[in-house]
């Protein structure tokens, strides 16, 4: 059995609002100085999901990422957690991709890697929260997709997937090969053991460019976008607080309640 996991390097989502800055021209976040980029948290859980398949079935785990050369770090992290091999998709032509050009590149890389039973992705990236690349890869490869998984059991060319719902879960059975996107309800990803970190440090992460995956120039990077971003901005927060005060506490409380009703908040 073989699982392929797609991961993305993103600015640390734990960056506090006060340290958060954007480059409005390049339309992206400027990483905070003391906060290096990280693996998108849901993607780390996707690695965990693949490793659980490995624990249960002894399947091989391959991890891929499209990104800057620095994304090698999150691939090494995945190897340290227990993945078997990793590939980085890096080419200046991949820059400024949207979900569509990203899914195209990842789908081509998966074709090059070859046969698989599962593709795991995080339910959405922790930066743009689009949640499209997984479904897109499945569509491009012509395989079924199941999103928001919290538990995956596989047997005999089928998988039983529990999908996280706000008030519980739904059970879906799907034929494999299939693409599964993983939700945080799956549980905490494992720590990379020291042995894993040392082994990962020695492993090579091959880098593939556009030519090596036979990508068409019109479908990658900004040329392959289906959407364009007009503007990225930090919203101006209302700093005017209207203080509600009455003659006494009860009067204040009534005024507050009536105010909230007036502006339709209750």
């Amino acid at each position: 059995m073989h699982s392929i996991v797609c991961v993305k390097e993103i600015p640390d989502p734990e960056t506090p609002a006060s340290a958060f800055a954007i480059d409005p021209v390049a339309k992206r976040a400027i990483p905070a100085k003391d906060k290096p980029p990280v693996i998108s948290p849901y993607d780390e859980q996707a690695v965990e999901a693949a490793l659980r398949q490995k624990d249960a079935k002894g399947s091989k785990v391959t991890v891929i990422s499209m990104g800057a050369p620095t994304a090698e770090k999150i691939l090494k992290h995945s190897l340290a957690m227990g993945a078997d091999e990793a590939f980085l998709l890096n080419d200046p032509a991949f820059e400024d991709s949207d979900s569509f050009s990203t899914a195209y590149v990842l789908a081509l890389a998966i074709k090059k890697i070859g046969q698989f039973d599962f593709i795991f992705c995080g339910r959405q990236a922790g930066d743009f929260d689009m949640g499209q690349v997984g479904s897109g890869i499945a569509e491009l490869l012509g395989i079924p997709s199941v999103t928001l998984a919290k538990k995956i059991e596989s047997q005999d060319g089928k998988a039983r997937v529990e999908r996280a719902f706000p008030d519980g879960y739904e059970v879906v059975e799907v034929s494999t090969p299939a693409l599964i996107t993983v939700s945080n309800e799956l549980g905490e990803p494992r720590y990379a053991p020291l042995k894993g970190i040392m082994a990962a440090a020695k492993k090579k992460v091959p880098v593939w460019n556009a030519k090596e995956i036979n990508a068409e120039a019109s479908k990658i990077g900004s040329a392959g976008r289906h959407t364009s971003m007009l503007k990225l901005f930090i919203p101006v927060r209302e700093s005017k607080c209207e203080v509600i005060a009455g003659e006494n506490e009860e009067d204040t409380a009534n005024k507050l309640a009536l105010k909230l009703r007036e502006v339709k908040l209750i």
Binding site: P11, P13, E14, P16, A17, S18, A29, D98, G126, D127, F128, D129, M130, G131, Q132, S135, G136, A138, E139, L140, I143, P144, S145, L148, F165, P166, D167, G168, Y169, E170, V171, V172, E173, V174, S175, A178, H226, T227, S228, M229, L230, K231, L232, F233, I234, S239, C241, E242, V243, I244, E249, T252, A253, L256, A257, L258, K259, L260, L265, I266
Partner: protein, 333 residues
Amino acid sequence: MADNKGVMIIGECVECAPVAITHELLGIGRKLADSLGEPLSAVLLADKVGDAAKNVIVFGADNVYVIESPLLKDYITDSYVDALEKLCLEVKPNILLVGQTTMGRDLAPRLAFRLGTGVTVDCIDLKIDPQTKLMVQTKPVYGGNALAEIVCEKTRPQMATVRPKTMEPLPRNDSRKGEIISFDAKLDASKIRAKFVERVKEKVEGVKLEDASVVICGGRGIGGPDNFAMLKELAKILGGALGASRPPCDNGWVPSTLQIGLTGKLVSPTLYIAIAVSGASQHLSGCSGAKNIIAVNKDPEANIFKVARYGVVGDYKKIMPPFMNKVKELLKG
């Protein structure tokens, strides 16, 4: 692409009744359709659609496409995407809106890829640019720290999913007339590669914090575990969820699963009532997505007032009981 016309929304129903997001989609859909001078249609998919079709007309749609099949009884990606692909190829909408719900999150991206178009998910604002006539799609990114405005220029339909509770539904208007069009999607069971097995409801106390439209949050100033009962009661009255800033969690007054902030949960309710919360920045980054923050705090200098829309300076123990009574009275009446 020049052929594409009209705004279409994908409705969701429970037992033949449109749910809230459907009304909200009709509300924003109507606005977009009117500013383009194009019609608004709705699509309903189910094994039996029933009265829902009439209902979406009185809430704003000019016509309704009804797609009925036993294969559409429960949501399954393949069957819904196949049916909607066929409908979109025939009707050629200019704009297609879906709710950012469990269904919409799954459906919209796959359908967009199938149709070869673009989609922006989790939009909180949609408007037509008067010059380009494109739908400008606004969505929060980077955990709500920034907003992005996105357009889909080259391909149709322009697709977006809409965050629940961000759009105004229209009032019911029984004099509205519309056409109900039955569409045969000719679904092929052999092409559906996944099977719905069951839905399991888990007992959760109250509403899930991340999804709640109302959040009542207590801070260090609550003073101890017992007083959280009052906040819990208020959350119950307003159909909301209880949360806390870090100190009550660190002190063990409430479970750490209730923590809102940088190292806890990110919430984005319509109404966020912060009670005895000072407003440390690590907490504020967890509730920056809240649309309306109401602060109750003894200290008029507390940081929370800088982000609050309404504030009350005073002792929450004296303010909250009469406030809760008044709210109950207003909700009844």
